[in-house]
Symmetry: C2
Amino acid sequence: MDPHLLRTFVTVARLASFSAAARALGYTQSAVSQHVASLELDLGAALLSRRPVAPTAAGERLLEHAGPLLLRLEAARADVVRMAAAPAPGLTLAATPTALGPAVLAALPPNGVTVRVLAREEIPAAVATGGADLGLVAGLAAPSDPLRLPDVAPLTTHGVAEEPVGVLLPAGHPLAGRRGLRLGDLADARWLEAPDAALPLDQLRAANGGGAFRPALRYEGTDLHTLTALAAAGHGLTLLPRSAVGAVPGTVAVPLTAPRVVHRTELLHGGSPGAAAGEIVRKLVGGA
Amino acid sequence: MDPHLLRTFVTVARLASFSAAARALGYTQSAVSQHVASLELDLGAALLSRRPVAPTAAGERLLEHAGPLLLRLEAARADVVRMAAAPAPGLTLAATPTALGPAVLAALPPNGVTVRVLAREEIPAAVATGGADLGLVAGLAAPSDPLRLPDVAPLTTHGVAEEPVGVLLPAGHPLAGRRGLRLGDLADARWLEAPDAALPLDQLRAANGGGAFRPALRYEGTDLHTLTALAAAGHGLTLLPRSAVGAVPGTVAVPLTAPRVVHRTELLHGGSPGAAAGEIVRKLVGGA
DNA sequence: ACGATCGATAAGCTCTGCTGATGGCGATGG
DNA sequence: CCATCGCCATCAGCAGAGCTTATCGATCGT
């Protein structure tokens, strides 16, 4: 189970071709063929069906393992190398769009910071591999409960903010006049599916304990402004933290009253944040 | 970052000796020395201080990564190999002691089952590496909340049982007459620290939001009978599911009224449970 | 002060793991 | 229906990775 073999295996599976994988990895086709053969011999099972090239059941299973495994390996490597190398000058922060609330923005130093907006699942990977010094992930959770994050490496997490959530409705919506809304009442409404910008709909289903939450329009960007514009235009509802739905023209934000969930933001960092990163951690987390 | 090198590195660090690690791994001392040197060259940092042999800061960090990494690798390997190999006849179940509640016991087939009681953290590893077909982990959680388990591999979890928890008190205890108890009122009592048999005390601290929960006696076994005997003898309190504290002579079980937590049992299994395992999963999980 | 032990280093050998060439097989097109 | 092309498997050959044996300097205990 040499990681090299694993890497060529996943490349072959992804490209569905031995030759293409060889080109991509800088090997000859022969070497790739031997890699896969050696893996199959080692595991005692066929991993790929040839002609056309497609993973077998065992191969599919190995693929599920291989991704996280290689990611963790890279993370471990990057983490240790980073300790030894000279600390890079700037400070990079990876965050989901709604994680950049007022509390976070106030804690940032005046200069030298790079902010990188990424999809939810990419944040732990970025922090673990050193692509970012700090990560900020937002999600829906019961009050004071931690978020569930994939653990690619031993990272430290701290809750930094909890905000009530509101439903963003176009101004003319029948429910726009309400004082509060229950999530269950909205299960059959049309929703915006914006997994990288807002909260993914399956988090809503989980919080509500089921429900349809039909996606009416899928938005794959990370831009909140576009998302609110889509909501204003009536393409669907979306759930956002209160601080983000303050004054969006053409919309009304109605607080969510049930279930009792909050928009929780968590800060994550590796074992030894640099000086600048440590400063921010202290500011955001407080005395903890 | 060859896993072999990683393995020798952790062995050297564990044994604090190059020569001893060489003996343990079946290499010569020279080979071990070269392994470590090659790792250090690759990562560009000293990992071990020699004479005496102890990990450096970077080495400590690498050690944190190495354990889960090697475990995951072994899990991946075992998982794929298992798919190909002939299914073993029996069925092995790994469980924490309190996870074997009445609901679980009723679902077991009459014969061919091996039950193995393990510490909490070992269960996911056992299931992932094929040491067990199914795992049962019990822990404290808010009602209907999932437990937090370490993810060594892509495993599937299902909640199978939730029970109220009770505090086990010796018969003569001042609080033994109460109808219910609040966890906060017991923070300063003497507790049994039995991480492998009952719930670890830090879970109590987490559930209570702090508190001392001083360990008076530490019990490292997994035997519930011994644990209840210790509790009866007044060596400390312990928290157990109601079904486990029914009629322990010399003790009184008082329900816990606050915070609202339950003793939750979760079933976990790999991607493709065998026929017998699948049967149990269906019985325990129901229609889900 | 001396012997024992430990880790680093050098030299040599073996076998892994790569390349380049060739062959079988299936798909495509005239 | 056959020629051609592209794909993957296999073979032979070679460079180097990786192990062992041998030896040295340093450290510790007696």
